[in-house]
Amino acid sequence: MRTGARLLRMLLRPTALIGLILVGGWLLVALFAPLLAPYDPLRSLVPLAAPGDHGPDGGMFLLGTDFIGRDILSRLIYGARTVITLATAATATAYMVGICGGLVAGFFRGRIDIALSFLANVILSFPLLILYIVIIVAMGASAANVILAVTFGSAPAIFRIVRTLTRDIAGRDFILAAITLGESTPRILFGEILPNVTGPLVVDFCLRLGYTAITIGALGFLGLGLPPPTPDWGSMVNEGRTLAFAYPHLVIFPCLAISSLVLGLSLLADGLRGREAQR
């Protein structure tokens, strides 16, 4: 009850509330995309219609159409699906890898810790986007490879957080008691330690989800993201870039979409962090 009330009070802070509305809104848009989108996101209608123009069937292109005549609003709505599923899947796999590695390294210490920590340091000394570019060039551009690249790039940071927390918790009395009682190692790792490290991870998850969305957007912008014609915000900016001088609507709306989603996630993380942990 008390944690529920506290959570509620946190979410009622204005910034957190804005974050919640933005993220919730985009989630709903992604969920109900087929109901909300006025047109098929892949169908070519009237090329380069301005926002507010009417189509041949009398319907309105609220945000205009792109260079091959696809409705931008519909592509944005379906793009929310692409970005949210891809970012969540990628971040979740990164978490699985990072948590497992961090628990093992923090609990057993010794050689395995040194090896995993070194590997994490090596990957962290790579600028993320450049690491992604190397991976995508080596393995090709596809949703699975984007997820793989993000996992590879984000897991080390998660690993570090979990490792530090685990090292601290592993020496506490209740863990020593569990060892004395003869509980199995996986049970100690996932049943005893993991529940105690999830708190800081929730905040980090929100933030990292936002950064992953930025990265997926940047890959799309560079033309290294999902292969066309999948509706994806970053790719929309890439496709519209050369025509942006005459048709700014091609690029401005996808940019607003991704900025608002990431901003929502950051504000939500900021709110969840709460006052006590703000320093």
Partner: protein, 313 residues
Amino acid sequence: MIVVKRLVNAILTMLAVSFLVFLLLELNIGEVAVKVLGQFSTPDQRHAWLQQNGYFDPFLLRYLRWLGGFVTGHWGVSTYYREDILVLLIPRLAASGILATATLAVMIPIALFSGILAGIREGSVLDRGLSVAAVVTTSIPEFASAVFFTAVFVFWLGWLPGVSTMAGGLDLKEYLMPVAVLVMASCGYVARMTRASMVEVMASPYIRTARLKGVPLRRIILRHALRNALLAPVTVIMLQIPWLLSGVVVVEVFFAYQGFGTLLYQAALNSDIYLIEACAMMSVMTVVGSQIVADIITLRLNPRLAAPARAAS
């Protein structure tokens, strides 16, 4: 001592990265042949080329040979530009260096100043305002803020050029937007870290003592708080460099700035693997180098760290 240890660690890191990059890009020799010779080469041509260039040797031998070439400055020839990679890379690195230096020169004062202002009084309106501003600016992807700036300053007001090709020599006007985008993306994080560090220092006993003695606030901040509060941001700024490099790639591509980022971009689009390898190694060298610089500066600011660890921590 610490610096030597760091240097050894840096060299080990770079070796591991080079192995990783080589593994990713050159393990599958069939693909290497396709990428170098193109889609339309015949299997016979590929086989002959692989044979000629020693690709049928064991993987480790190939790696060592590549590493040896890299260390001695033989970085190979770009398959897309048909030019020696070292010759190609140096002017591009210099161009990106100018962009990054300009960004840091603008970003550091803004970030430190706003972070210190916010941290003087925790929870004040100014503090909240600056914190929210920091969250907002870091949440906007570089390509999006580039679009927004372009929309306002190029399309609407018509004040600035939309591309930064530097065709007519270095032009300050062409630098304004790329630098602004990079500053916006990197400023918030450094400001937040500075703020956190300042808040911590302002809450420490020696500041309280100074206050109780009646030292004016201005003097407390300038003489007592700043030196300690700036320790953490130095490290943070240096750790920000990998992020900055990622941003540089996006910004250079957006504004068609002829630097390291556009080179890597072209290399990626054309599967120019030797060029990608060189670019990846250069970026890791930059990051590792900046970490060493961060260590040296931290030691300078805080000599206690250089002393052998007496109290085990």
